[in-house]
């Protein structure tokens, strides 16, 4: 697998979707798939898929399609899913607990070490097998255990200060649900800002378009 120069952000953002679809194909027992069939499944064009995969040196032999096992392995490697990354979650409110109870962090390449919350009533409780610790012990924990990323499910107003402190303590990426846009440029580490409202506004637009 040979990496070609800079891969565009758009391609990178399609990688998880490719990986997810390949995992589903594998679960369905599919062993080999053409770029055309994969394109149909994903609502893309076959040439788009070939172009994207070419950024990483190919994956397929002309006319034979892609081997699903091999593709899963290679895409997983590119995504870094087997690098043994670790995470902590900060803020065990409703959204935090929804993630603790239901979200499969390991399928996305992370071992979740534990959660933190300022509410003493939550401290010591477990959600989805993950312990909630007191937020007063957060930085000591981060210094000692060196988690790769922090999941921010705290109120928006606390986000910028906490993000900077976490980066000062060695956190190398943020999964940010606070609604406050945090940027790599300001922090020096990658951030994935989750804006659920963008998705619902898109739906609002699409429902209107169907009427037109």
């Amino acid at each position: 697998m040979e990496r070609k120069q800079e891969v565009s952000k758009a391609v990178v953002q399609r990688l998880p979707r490719y990986y997810r679809n390949i995992c589903e194909l594998k679960a369905e027992g599919v062993q080999r798939i053409s770029s055309r069939a994969l394109a149909e499944r994903m609502g893309l064009t076959a040439s788009q898929i070939r172009q994207d995969f070419n950024c990483f040196g190919g994956f397929g032999q002309q006319g034979y399609g892609y081997n699903v096992d091999k593709l899963q392995e290679e895409l997983g490697a590119i995504l870094g899913l087997r690098a043994g990354r670790t995470a902590v979650l900060i803020g065990a409110g409703n959204l935090g607990r929804a993630l603790l109870n239901n979200f499969d962090f390991s399928a996305s390449g992370f071992k979740l070490l534990c959660a933190f919350d300022a509410n003493q009533e939550l401290v010591g409780k477990k959600f989805g097998g993950h312990e909630v610790r007191s937020s007063s012990t957060l930085f000591e924990f981060v210094d000692r255990r060196k988690p790769d990323v922090a999941v921010l499910t705290i109120p928006r107003t606390h986000a910028p200060d906490l993000a900077h402190e976490l980066v000062d303590h060695g956190i190398r990426g943020l999964w940010n649900f606070t609604g406050e846009d945090l940027h790599l440029e300001g922090l020096g580490v990658p951030v994935e800002n989750v804006h659920l409202s963008d998705s619902l506004m898109t739906l609002c637009h699409l429902v209107g378009m169907e009427e037109a």
Copy 2:
């Protein structure tokens, strides 16, 4: 505001981000912004922004920048945020309750009418002011009140069947958190599939790239 032919999916998906940033600028007291300043804020290029806005007939006068109030109004109109859409939420588990308690549906163009759950212990309770009703009354409610969209926060296995039933009862869009990819083609109505794992896998990849 003149709509030019077909607007690409990529442009549509950037609209909510534009709208969100414009709302923030307005809250910050900004009245006018150049495409260059907006581009810097959003990590895009000025020509990208001008191109996107041209799909909808412009919005700005050359050399004067964009009027923030007017832009908010026009983008809001394009997104259909003031069309008075309504929604119901199905599945008041952790994720459903996180949305009920914390998510501002009205800012994304929807009035949330109520929630539904099969668990009788939740029925009658309120979360974020939204009542949970028995799922046995769901279709009767949908027939009578005709909500525009359904928010699916139910287990994955129930998603495809329920989606089809909802569409049969007149639901015109789905905001789908179940992890099961639902498609417009199969259902005949627009779907926004929320895959949080895609975002976390992207972060995993970006953290690895920073190391390289």
